[in-house]
Symmetry: C2
Subunit: 404 residues, 2 copies
Amino acid sequence: MSNLDHRKATKTIKVTDINGMPVKNAKLRLLQKSHEFLFGCGGFDFVALTNVQDEKVKAHFQDITDKWLKIYNYATLPFYLGEFEKEEGKPETQSRMNAALYLKERGVTLKGHPLVWHTVCADWLMKYDNETILRKQLERIDREVLGFKGVIDMWDVINEVVIMPIFDKYDNAITRICKEKGRVGLIKEVFERAHADNPDAVLLLNDFNTSINYEILIDGCLNAGVPISAIGIQSHQHQGYWGAEKLYEVLERFSHFGLPLHFTENTLISGQIVPAHIEDLNDYQVSEWPTTPEGEERQVKEVEEMYRILFSHPRVQAITTWDFRDGAWLGAPSGFLRKDGSVKPAYEMLRKLIHEEWKTDMTLTTDENGVATADAFRGRYEIDLKESTTEASFTDDSELVITV
Amino acid sequence: MSNLDHRKATKTIKVTDINGMPVKNAKLRLLQKSHEFLFGCGGFDFVALTNVQDEKVKAHFQDITDKWLKIYNYATLPFYLGEFEKEEGKPETQSRMNAALYLKERGVTLKGHPLVWHTVCADWLMKYDNETILRKQLERIDREVLGFKGVIDMWDVINEVVIMPIFDKYDNAITRICKEKGRVGLIKEVFERAHADNPDAVLLLNDFNTSINYEILIDGCLNAGVPISAIGIQSHQHQGYWGAEKLYEVLERFSHFGLPLHFTENTLISGQIVPAHIEDLNDYQVSEWPTTPEGEERQVKEVEEMYRILFSHPRVQAITTWDFRDGAWLGAPSGFLRKDGSVKPAYEMLRKLIHEEWKTDMTLTTDENGVATADAFRGRYEIDLKESTTEASFTDDSELVITV
């Protein structure tokens, strides 16, 4: 369907014996173990799994997270200040570290979300003056970015800045300092701090606003020297699928900065669509919001089209499904698992797409020069050759030599 | 009505004799000759006046411009590349210089408009590649800013950048380079060039877009170190008066950058209002667009309210009426003169406001220490004392000593 050359490495593999002589007619099996592309999902349930005591509850989360691990290689972990540090000076560092290490051991790349945001913000910050609020935010960045370095090296540094200084639903500490410092001024300060703490970290600006506002904001930040590694685009589609046309338009508009694009928060629901007149999704409060068979059929088609478009676009490096299971944010039927833990069609479709269609498993035979060539999806590989097994990363077109 | 302290200087005037002894009971007359505040208007008719040969035509423009000079102290002169340099290498430098010198001799402050814009742009630029287009734009900036230095020291450097890269009505050279360099990148380049050419010049960014887009654009530019001296806000109200509420809101939103605000292009018409569904005013084409008695009554009220609000706001340094006479841009009844040259109520109201209500003409008597104190509108003054006349600028509260 689409051209996926940019997702592949053209790999030349040379097999030699211990004297350096080519081994011809050798049979090689290339088995892809993981993807370079970041197929992500919210990993909040891993915090529960790795921290609850009750065995029944643990088993429940074990089932959910085992299914999660069958699809994804990349998790977003929650660092909302209002939950992470409910009481000043008592951060939830240990619970997040438990989840992070559990995921890291299983080869999952991690991102912390978010370091600065006006929502789910700590109320205790509001008792301070603006200078102190900013200082405490910067110290918070130090604590998390330094404290998790080597485990979490990717951060949504600041979230939803387009609306931040004019957010008026309730008073909060971050809107106050954003009003005072201006959008770009605040972004610059918090990014520079995170970058100083971990110069190798991937640092994201993240927003649900995909209008010209966000484009101009990014343009200003880049010209002001803000060390943005990737542009984060949210796509919560509770009010209906964007459709291919809007998706291509957003991709085109945000591509010209030359930075990687991460679809950081993707939602396509399998139930009732939220009416168009609702401006803030948080205002849609319903007692029951069931998944439906028709909704699940719609969801699987939309998820597939969207993943195919995004995977085929060279600038996109990551897609994160926001809710893995129904009933998380807003109680929406937004997951790939139903509330009873059974999988929806979208789960099975996505598993096949990522682990069959977009994954390499091929057998090659070397020619008379001991050489075989493969177009293989980028990622980590196991190469089986008779009784020996070699591990290698396929991320570029360099030659690989295997000695038997 | 409003507090105008920020428009006044509290001046202490001391009168001494040649031995330095105070002169008491001396009668002083303070007569304001000009304003510090920039009361501006489009000065395009001065280009006609100072360059036409035909005596009848000249007399027509003489009448218009004499009426102009009775109100304003600040003129915007046209430098649209597509008219200024219709044929490459043949700029209209002399005609603009004739107009500029005529105005300067009469004490009028000047602004050139604009140095870079995608509209009324030169078609011949389009035959070049983007690199050459940018180089020619920068050379154009050098030519005008250096060539008019000392005569014109204020420039609308770049016009309407919010829409510039997505402007799609027709192909043009500036949209092309803005697409490539991005908004802030292009703004930075052209401002830095103008600033290097004339470091003392007042350099404006100017836009009709007063939305959050423009705020974020300014924020980005300032954080990227763009040397913006003042924020230009257009207010063409062919579709109806903004009203005080919107005006206060715009003032509040654009004040927080700490820069002076210039209302660069103000229009309030005295005829039929343009329907709300018209998106681009240039699309409103009518054969006749007359001024009406009711329209003129509406216009005078709206102009007065707007000038009072803007003059009372400390950040505002300039208000420019766009069309002095009817039938200029779009053929609209947008002027303060009718097509037959007669003055509308708005003309007389504004003359009184600026030259009576907001102008100082007072008589003082010195006390026993030879001192008199005046709260006087900022500007140039003539101080008459018996047979002697002293000229002075009242722009701060410093003491003035007059020796008789």
